[in-house]
Symmetry: C2
Subunit: 300 residues, 2 copies
Amino acid sequence: MISRFSGLSAFPLTPLQDDEVDERAFAGLVERLGAAEVDSITALGSTGSYAYLSPDERARVARLAVKHAGGTPVFVCVADLRTSQVLAHVRSAEAAGAAGILLTPMTYQPLTADDVFELFRTVTEHTDLPVIVYDNPGTTHFAFTTGLYARIAELPRIASIKIPGVPNDSVRARARVAGIRAVVPEHVTIGVSGDASAATGLNAGCDAWYSVIGGTLPEPALTITRAAQRGRTAEAVAESERLAPLWDLFAEFGGSLRVTAAIAEHLGLAPAQCLPLPIQGLTEAQRARVAAAVRDLDLG
Amino acid sequence: MISRFSGLSAFPLTPLQDDEVDERAFAGLVERLGAAEVDSITALGSTGSYAYLSPDERARVARLAVKHAGGTPVFVCVADLRTSQVLAHVRSAEAAGAAGILLTPMTYQPLTADDVFELFRTVTEHTDLPVIVYDNPGTTHFAFTTGLYARIAELPRIASIKIPGVPNDSVRARARVAGIRAVVPEHVTIGVSGDASAATGLNAGCDAWYSVIGGTLPEPALTITRAAQRGRTAEAVAESERLAPLWDLFAEFGGSLRVTAAIAEHLGLAPAQCLPLPIQGLTEAQRARVAAAVRDLDLG
């Protein structure tokens, strides 16, 4: 049986307009993902700006995601700085009809491994939903070890681990994924993130791709995912290499979020300046380069 | 005229019990600071767990701080991830009767210098309160440059800059403070943080000490501050060196917050496990060492 926590999980933006969630734009992004037949939709990921939204906004966005997903499973990120706040988001995700939850150890004061383990233990004791362990050191500044993955993966209801980008080198990438695979139970899938390394990660044995770009441009992300799933490793790599100008812009412009938001705005999928302030998004000159890449790569 | 933003600003904890603010304990900590005659009290700093509290909790704590401060000026941290949330905290601080606000660029997605400047610009346009620029890279992961200090310090209502710890070497510390002093207007005070380097910072020309330990143990912090203010640099250094076992525990146990909370709990100033989960605080073995240091240093 193929786990629900495999294949392409697409992370839509949660576009804002005048500091309020643009529900129509969000619904449109989600419907587009359902129509493209992604394997799952992760609402309110880092790409979905969960960290910037109020509990009420997050509850509402979770409901909208399930409503507009057309039956595609929806995962919802429940992370927050305080355990009791996380549990409140868990209840909202359950009420929305989420098929699973993502949990990352959001930090302000640095957390210890024991703090993080206890957070996961508490959450898994308070829900029947499957849990995706969300390792995102670029935003949380928490460094998971493989040993901590193993410890958390033994908890009930842990369904998947979303790992950061894998090494570019395919041998090293395979060793990295095998090293995790060796210490977590078989039913726990491993999903790569860091879009630029997705093809390498999938070819190296990752079961899933938790994808930023897939939330806005599902077609090329599906091309990579389906090729890798069918063992056509060269095809997956070729599509990823075709998209290299996009990965280069991610690197040059400080990450995937601002570039992806600019793409969504350029394509009319999100209103202008759709990220939460103080994040201003790309400059006009940067946006022009993004638009040129979208055109050159025929992504429009 | 001596600025209100000089001398010892003491940062009380906001103790929790069973995931709710322990208002009696908080009021007790604030009264203790007023009685000790610290120069100001900063409520809801990082030490005061602002990042973990709801808007309502923060508004309530700000009001309690002013009520129990006995006339000592109270500054309130208004930071949050989203600009509109920051502005809501500003309104709460104003309503509470705060004498100033602290603003740090709390981050989830990394911010650019322009994002941070615009955040400060927006806030200074929306309040008449003096603003303390709060540079805390250990929690925000945002790196201010001296140039960005200068740019922000030109905004109206900027009253002070809270800088991270200065170099241990007094010559380098003096150069660091002079380098900032040279580029910010005269009315903007410079306050050191990082308790272990406070004596060095004050002796190097800092106007203020924004102090974690001073929020729980005001007496030794005042000893250092008053000595430095009177030009008795050796006395300030001697008291700081006497407290070296405490600074060593800060370093060994991952920062000042967990140790200071353990001290407050040990002295009966806060309930057990007073930090917000998932922060578990120190282990029993670590607490025993903190208690021994408190006894050996006669801090009880």
